[in-house]
């Protein structure tokens, strides 16, 4: 069992869950447009979402475009 911090809150995950799998649980626009992911303060490119598994204790930030600026 893996527990990550997702946007500041603990989230239990199945071991070996990938970034892509995590995003499927969120309401993300098609092809992840306007969305980005950082794991432990490193950006994970879209191209690596499928291949990147989330280790236990990972601090994950998933951000999306909002109105601003």
């Amino acid at each position: 069992m893996t527990t990550i911090s997702l946007n500041g809150e603990d989230r239990p995950l199945a071991d070996g869950t990938t970034v892509a799998q995590l995003l499927e649980t969120l309401d993300v626009p098609e092809k992840g447009r306007g969305v980005a992911v950082a794991v432990d303060a490193e950006v994970v490119p879209h191209s690596a979402w499928d291949a990147t598994t989330l280790p236990d204790g990972a601090r994950v930030e998933v951000v999306i475009a909002i109105q601003g600026g």
Binding site: N7, D27, V35, A36, V43, V44, A65, Q67, G69
Partner: protein, 262 residues
């Protein structure tokens, strides 16, 4: 850089037909935002990034795609170079763009930029291949520094974000314009149409505004007002205004006045 109304605005090799950049913050609805984009005929809008659980799926991306505008993500809310650089990298992924409106704030109440962190972040982002448009104070030396480290434009403020106080120090803006080798975009402070006109008249190449439009009582009417104001300012800048005089200069000749006797 000198503004020519006819010529397009060019930033980092990309041409824009509009000299108005729209900030998307503050619109009461996405419909109003979409109307404002249409009304202003802007080519470029800013967006911010926030945690998805706070924001939810917003529908914003769909609006942006529908209107076809160029997206300029920002780093609003960052107080350090480190956070700003990380946010810029997230933005690059989110929108597959090297363009970033760089904000590094130094004070919560005034949201004024922090000069030292701003220059540090700009240097890092330029080195990392970003096209950096920094939100900066109206300090001419700082603007020059940002250009020197490779920023694609400089975005001095007229007054604090959302204050609607217009251009508090037109002298500084004029000094920035005089020296700039990259486009100068007035960012922050526009409260109404005349502020935007004045910015262009002072030689700014473009204006970015959000609150003046999005928080007006009638955002679409104000969108049209500011669109026209920007065009007016660019034209006036190019038209060569009359000099200011302390005394009058008659517009009607005094010669040939009739005389009606005593």
């Amino acid at each position: 850089m000198a503004t020519t109304a006819a010529a397009p605005l060019t930033i980092a090799g990309r041409d824009f037909t509009s000299r108005l950049i729209l900030g998307t913050g503050g619109f009461p609805s996405l419909d109003l935002l979409e109307s404002a984009i249409a009304t202003t005929e802007t080519d470029m809008v800013t967006v911010a990034l926030r945690r998805i659980d706070a924001a939810g799926r917003t529908g914003l991306v769909e609006v942006l795609d529908r209107t076809g505008v160029h997206v300029l993500p920002n780093t609003a809310g960052c107080f350090t170079a480190r956070d700003a650089v990380l946010t810029a990298k997230l933005a690059r992924e989110a929108f597959q763009t090297e363009w970033i409106k760089l904000e590094v704030i130094g004070d919560e109440r005034t949201l004024l930029p922090d000069a030292v962190e701003l220059v540090a972040a700009a240097e890092q982002l330029v080195a990392d291949g970003f096209i950096v448009l920094p939100y900066t104070t109206d300090d001419p030396v700082l603007a020059r520094r940002l250009e020197d480290v490779g920023c694609a434009a400089v975005m001095p403020l007229g007054s604090p974000i959302g204050s609607g106080m217009g251009i508090r120090n037109p002298y500084n803006l004029a000094l920035i314009v005089e020296r700039a080798g990259v486009p100068v975009i007035l960012d922050a402070g526009v409260g109404t149409a005349s502020d935007a006109t004045l910015a262009l008249e002072l030689g700014c190449d473009a204006v970015l505004t959000a609150s003046a439009i999005s928080r007006a009582e009638d955002p679409v009417a104000m969108a049209r007002a500011i669109k026209l104001a920007v065009e007016a300012g660019a034209l006036a800048r190019g038209a060569g205004r009359i000099p200011r005089r302390l005394y009058a200069e008659a517009s009607t000749t005094p010669e040939g006045l009739p005389h009606f006797g005593a």
